[in-house]
């Protein structure tokens, strides 16, 4: 992901999420070059031109790096394929509840074309003070040196707010998304944060379901040497198995949380094994971070 030289597009410009969130992104200084909404060519929103198709925008404005996708769930796949066909290689899918098989096809194409996909069902990326690619509430964030990654939306806001209130600003915050099939993994973003010069420590805000936190813990042991603090939500979440006759076999789902089973205990165990401190509530994260940074700093300066 390249966030520095981004020329940005919004797909779904004239649809409900577009008209709601584009002003937020613009106000934050995000360089939105164009919006896409078929049939609306020639219109503008806050001075930003609208085109019928992505390729039209590129023809008129030159290459685009990133598209923020805000179209309705059943149109996300097509919007993403359109963007990839036009050469865009960074996609942020904010829309929630994209059908899983659409995401399978989308991510397969993304892999084939070398496209980075954030989401679906992601508030996107915020670089506090610089860039908002998505719908993070800007007022919760302050520039700083803590990198945040999560699958959640509002929970990453909560953690950011807690850090901000504790005087710990953020270098970047990324939600990889809450839908079942996601375009990018924790691992990709851990590597990004590892290389990001401004990031001094990382907070991984996980939740039950799936095994991405377990994978991330392994990956941290192997490839990340910046301090990492974890928090996992869902210790007391109600469970319901929905898989069928041999239901315990592969996967189960947590009622109303749209998350496959990956129990809290298993995730905590994985973090412990990777020697990653786990906060038992969001408000404990700043303390753990401060400890980790104090411990780490001499090494970094040595």
């Amino acid at each position: 992901m390249n966030l520095t030289t981004s020329k940005i597009l919004v797909q779904g410009m004239m649809e409900p999420m577009g008209s709601r969130y584009v002003p937020l992104m613009m106000n934050y200084g995000t360089p939105i070059a164009a919006g896409i909404s078929p049939g609306h060519r020639g219109e503008t929103i806050g001075g930003i031109p609208v085109f019928d198709m992505v390729e039209q925008a590129i023809e008129s404005l030159g290459a685009i790096d990133t598209s923020v996708i805000l179209v309705q769930p059943y149109l996300v796949l097509d919007a993403a394929l359109e963007a990839m066909a036009a050469g865009i290689r960074q996609l942020v899918i904010v829309t929630e509840s994209v059908p899983p098989l659409d995401m399978v096809r989308l991510t397969r194409k993304a892999e084939a074309t070398g496209t980075i996909v954030i989401g679906s069902s992601s508030p996107g990326i915020i670089v506090p003070g610089e860039l908002l690619l998505g719908i993070h509430p800007a007022e919760f964030y302050r520039p700083g040196s803590i990198g945040l990654i999560s699958r959640s939306g509002t929970l990453i806001y909560e953690v950011a707010l807690t850090l901000t209130q504790a005087g710990l600003g953020q270098s970047i915050a990324i939600s990889i998304g809450g839908d079942r099939i996601l375009g990018s993994s924790y691992d990709y973003w851990l590597n990004y944060l590892q290389q990001d010069l401004r990031t001094e420590a990382i907070v991984l805000v996980g939740e039950i379901g799936g095994d991405s936190e377990e994978q991330a813990a392994k990956h941290i042991t192997q490839a990340i040497d910046k301090p990492v603090i974890a928090y996992i939500a869902g210790r007391t979440a109600p469970r319901r198995q929905v898989m069928g006759h041999s239901s315990a076999v592969i996967t189960t789902q947590i009622t109303d949380f749209d998350a496959d089973l990956g129990t809290f205990d298993r995730k905590i165990a994985a973090m412990k094994q990777a020697k990653i401190p786990v906060a038992d509530r969001p408000s404990q994260i700043p303390d753990l971070l401060k400890k980790a940074l104090a411990h780490k700093k001499p090494t970094l300066q040595a």
Binding site: P73, Y74, V94, E96, S97, G153, Y157, H245, V249
Partner: protein, 381 residues
Amino acid sequence: MDLLEYQAKALFREMGIPVLPSQRIDHCRDLKGLKIPYPVVLKSQVYTGGRGKAGGVKFVANTIDAIAAAQAIFNLPIMGQYPEVLLAEAKYDAQQELYLAVLLDRTTRCPLLLGSIAGGSETDLTMKQLQQVQVDQEFSSFYARRLALKMNLSGELIQSVSAIVEKMYRLFVSKDLDLIEINPLGVSRSGDVMALDGKVTVNDEALGRHPDLNGLQGQLPTRSPASLRSILNFIPLEGNIGVLCNGAGLTMATLDLLHKAGGKPAGFVNLGREGRYGLSPEQLQIQIEQGLELLKQAKGVKVILVNLLSSIVSASDIASAIASYLQRQPYNHRAPQIIVRLVGNEFASAQEMLMAIEVPTLDHLDDAIAKVVSLSKSKLA
């Protein structure tokens, strides 16, 4: 959304997966018009497994036995569920029973084909016994043959079983399923195969583009994605604190904090993320009111915690939605006490507005949790 066996089998039939002649029985009297020759199997149509062991499946040889058996099954709850219909089906003489399934593997982002030669209702299948094939590229029949070989099938069964797997896969994709399972797939002495029991789970998010399946739940079919509709659910737990929150992660964190502080959630309403395509700021306000109403009416709720974070709806707009809801309520000294946690630039004005109508409003989550838990334990129960 889970389908009942008879609904799953209707899909199988449509796709050319062989199923036995069968008939849906809504009332015991329907058995008088049975078109399938005896002996017949009567099966309870419930959403849970294990009905065989529970007595929900009976073989009958004539109408009199059938009516008696049907009465028994209609009155037999399985995991708490009474069947609304039974399925009457011909008997099948299976020499062998296989397990087959297709589902989506979240980690690899690939559909998985599953199979075992040890199928049947008695089998306790585990990951290890099941053979798996990842569909890592566009599907073609050879993936199904790969499963058949892994299952250690040989001769003509390779083709007949992989043909079934292929049809299951086509159904899985064309109907956006989360799961399609045939267990058992009966194999006769002559090598013919037959789907004897089946389970289908439809993906809820894709339901809007399958009006045929959507109608199976008894709702009116709709073509809009689930996230465009705004049906809120109250998920009941066993305590006395109701939670109104937005986003799964934050809701789970809030429940965890309540437990940790010694509180007991009675249940929650999750308004969902802000990435919900159709959710406008106005609708969020309406949903806050609907959520509060659901919590008020829920059993055992003594205190309500509202914990909402938003990038486009300000704290004072949330506060005014809460205030407007409360002001429309008739006075009731037993109504649950509401504690609100809000944040953001407009917190002060929001707090003022809510304090004026005696709703405690805090901006620190831990403080709000402490307050709620303490109230939930107070004598005013």
